[in-house]
């Protein structure tokens, strides 16, 4: 895609991020070197993204364990407080229910 053939010549163009048009780089050995540098940078960026995604997935998995523990503990604490005769109005503080 960045190499465009016109007649017998190949011309290297570089994409400009966020723009629809592209920038002309050149042809011949200089263009090939630029293409190689761009390719290496692209590969490095892809590798960084892949590593970041793997890290995020690992951290999410870790958080899932604590989230589950947190949810169960919260539920049990609430159940025990309710069983002891307390209640909460509209996420307010726990209060003892008035005797009827």
């Amino acid at each position: 895609m960045p190499w465009i053939t016109r007649g017998k010549q190949q011309y290297y163009y570089r994409r400009i991020p966020g723009h629809a048009n592209k920038a002309y780089v050149g042809r011949g050995p200089a263009a090939e070197l630029a293409a190689q540098c761009d390719g290496a940078r692209r590969a490095e960026r892809l590798e960084t993204t892949r590593r970041s995604r793997a890290d995020h997935a690992r951290h999410r998995k870790l958080d899932l364990i604590v989230a589950k523990l947190d949810r169960l503990c919260n539920l049990m604490a609430q159940a025990n407080l309710l069983a002891a005769g307390y209640h909460r109005h509209d996420r307010g503080p726990w209060r003892r229910r008035r005797q009827r």
Binding site: V66, D70, L75, Q78, G85, H87
Partner: protein, 187 residues
């Protein structure tokens, strides 16, 4: 990650029924309240399951935070032991022990989130955003766990024995101390 209890397997017995009874009890229904008490009394094993899950969370988080650094690992283990003693005290019931384990696990998660967020190796805006959100979530969860423990102590004093006055202050002091250890290890 180390082997531990299957997350899907750790479930409250009949959670839907528990939630239904909780809603009834919250609305002031006497039968719902009686049913809730009976359900809680008949399933003491859930505390054991939650304890297993807490131990697993602790193991995994320590392994991830410390990595190959045995000194940091040992420091974390000892610090958690101290925090557990200070928070739970010698005589506590199952409910309070569960709340203490929850606080410890959430604290560890917060330490991990802070450590990861402080990593200078930045991989762009999405990663920084992810780390920040994770830190916020961990902080919120930790504060919720501390509040829940305080609520249980204040409202259900039966069997709940704060080991000593100012235990919370001691824990916060030890948190700061551990932060220093982590900072020294990181440099």
């Amino acid at each position: 990650m180390t082997n531990g209890p299957d997350l899907q397997a750790v479930q409250l017995p009949n959670e839907q029924e528990l939630r239904r009874l909780m809603a009834l009890a919250d609305a002031g229904d006497e039968e719902g309240l009686a049913g809730l008490r009976q359900l809680l009394d008949s399933h003491p094993e859930i505390y054991e399951q939650i304890g297993d899950l807490a131990a697993h969370a602790e193991r995994v988080l320590i392994a991830v935070i410390a990595g190959p650094n045995q000194l940091l690992r040992e420091s974390l283990v000892r610090k958690l032991g101290d925090m557990r003693t200070e928070l739970a005290g010698p005589a506590t019931n199952l409910l309070e022990r569960m709340a203490v384990e929850r606080v410890l696990a959430c604290w560890l998660q917060l330490q991990h989130a802070d450590t990861v967020a402080a990593n200078p190796e930045s991989n762009g805006l999405p990663t920084l955003n992810f780390r920040l959100k994770r830190q916020e979530n961990a902080n919120r969860r930790y504060l919720g766990a501390v509040k829940s423990l305080m609520d249980l102590r204040r409202l259900l004093p039966n069997g709940v024995a704060p080991s000593q006055q100012g235990a919370s202050l001691k824990v916060f002091a030890s948190c700061v101390e551990l932060d220093r250890v982590v900072a020294v290890q990181g440099t």
